[in-house]
């Protein structure tokens, strides 16, 4: 196995991790979500650095276990997960592919950059397009939806409620 590990590159590992879904929103991978920050090798040990989305995200431990299990399945014997807090995770790191997957799943992806929503001042919520019918005639129902990372909207055109993945 030693010989095999030495030829695995961090890029390959990153591709493998692209098959690890987010436990809460399984249509998006942990790579597309932007929480895998780095992959490196220390001798035979594969070190994967991840960062939590929200401080209280209950999925973090499951993500760690999933990452280790997928890499073991690929033949990497020793895997270490390092958690980093800084720089803090932002939805700006979400890939375009990830945003498209969210939309198809029925969750409107972030409509702004994180910088646009920073600060304590109450700003106008962005026009968010309905993931069902595409109408931009939508209304914020609640700043928090089914999880901390989402807000609840309703489409005025088709009448359907939907989750909006907040810019963060």
């Amino acid at each position: 196995m030693q010989g095999r590990e030495s030829v695995v590159t961090p890029d390959e590992v990153m591709q493998w991790l692209d098959a690890v879904p987010d436990p809460e929103i399984p249509v998006i991978s942990v790579v597309d979500l932007g929480i895998v920050r780095d992959v490196s090798f220390e001798g035979a040990t594969c070190v994967v650095t991840i960062t939590p989305t929200y401080s209280g995200c209950p999925a973090m431990r499951e993500i760690e276990e999933d990452v280790v299990s997928v890499l073991r399945g690929k033949g990497l014997e020793t895997v270490r997960i390092d958690i980093t807090l800084s720089p803090a995770w932002t939805t700006d790191w979400m890939s375009e592919r990830g945003k498209e997957a969210l939309k198809r799943y029925g969750i409107a992806p972030p409509a702004q950059r994180a910088i646009d929503v920073s600060g304590i001042m109450r700003h106008k919520e962005p026009p968010v397009s309905c993931p069902q019918c595409g109408s931009s005639h939508t209304r914020l129902i609640s700043r928090f939806g089914s999880t901390a990372c989402k807000a609840l909207y309703r489409c005025q055109s088709c009448g359907e409620p939907f989750d909006y993945f907040k810019a963060h």
Binding site: Y54, G56, S86, I120, R122, S142, T147, A148
Partner: protein, 254 residues
């Protein structure tokens, strides 16, 4: 051991943990579903932040206590949260008033802490700040909606502000811990946050057609002391519920 930093980290960890536990009491009892979810999500953010602060506190202390040991195996006099965090939920207006006062202070504090010379403190603060900005905008929304709502909701909201305000003073008092850490550029002086807090709170309260209670009454000795372990009766009941399992079945895991 860096005793001042340890104490300060307990204050941050305990204040977020205790307020989180309070907010969880609304689960299943919220006035409307959307508010209940918002309160639960705010509680979850605060719990995550508490875990980071308490984990770091345990590391700084260096005696092998982790976040769980600190959360579940300390009694009320060892807790270092601000009194505001432990105030009972009351009616929904009381909860909103407490949250608004806390969120705005929390935001102003984290904004400074993210520039701490201690990189561990700065990292937690920068992460939490993004979440707390959202908390503050939401509690401001609700405050305005209730204050500038019906005559009934307006009066309830004003009463809630009068009830909560005496506990605001403690947020802006300094002691040997904050003075030492401020001199080392680890934390800001609490007093330095007061002007920004008052100015922002006044702006939101005006929009809510509510009157800002006098902050001067807030410095009575009966209304401070949480950060030194002198708590109101309310904290004991909260901890009794939160710690029940670990106290009854020490070391239980699942």
């Amino acid at each position: 051991m860096d005793q001042a930093l340890f104490q300060y980290l307990l204050r941050m960890g305990d204040s977020t943990l205790v307020l989180s536990q309070r907010l969880c009491e609304w689960t299943g009892h919220g006035p409307v579903l959307e508010e209940e979810m918002a309160v639960a999500n705010t509680a979850l953010d605060l719990l995550g932040q508490a875990r980071m602060w308490l984990t770091l506190a345990g590391e700084v202390e260096g005696l092998g206590r982790d976040e769980d040991a600190l959360a579940y195996l300390r009694d009320a006099p060892e807790y270092r949260n601000v009194l505001l965090a432990e105030r009972p939920n009351g009616n929904y207006g009381t909860t909103v008033a407490r949250q608004f006062a806390f969120d705005v202070w929390h935001y102003m504090l984290l904004e400074q802490l993210q520039n701490s010379v201690d990189e561990r403190v700065a990292a937690i603060a920068a992460k939490a700040l993004k979440e707390v900005a959202y908390h503050a905008r939401r509690s401001s929304d609700v405050l305005i909606r209730l204050g500038d709502g019906t005559e009934f909701s307006h009066n309830r909201m004003q009463e809630a502000l009068e009830e909560i305000w005496p506990y605001v003073g403690e947020l802006f008092i300094d002691d040997a811990v904050t003075e030492e850490l401020a001199a080392r550029d680890v934390v800001p002086l609490n007093a330095s946050l007061r002007e920004a807090w008052e100015s922002h709170a006044a702006q939101i309260l005006t929009e809510a057609t509510l009157r800002m209670p006098a902050i001067e009454g807030a410095f009575h000795p009966a209304h401070r002391g949480g950060v030194h372990g002198r708590h109101t009766e309310a904290l004991g009941y909260l901890l009794a519920e939160m710690q029940h399992l670990q106290r009854s079945y020490p070391g239980a895991r699942w």
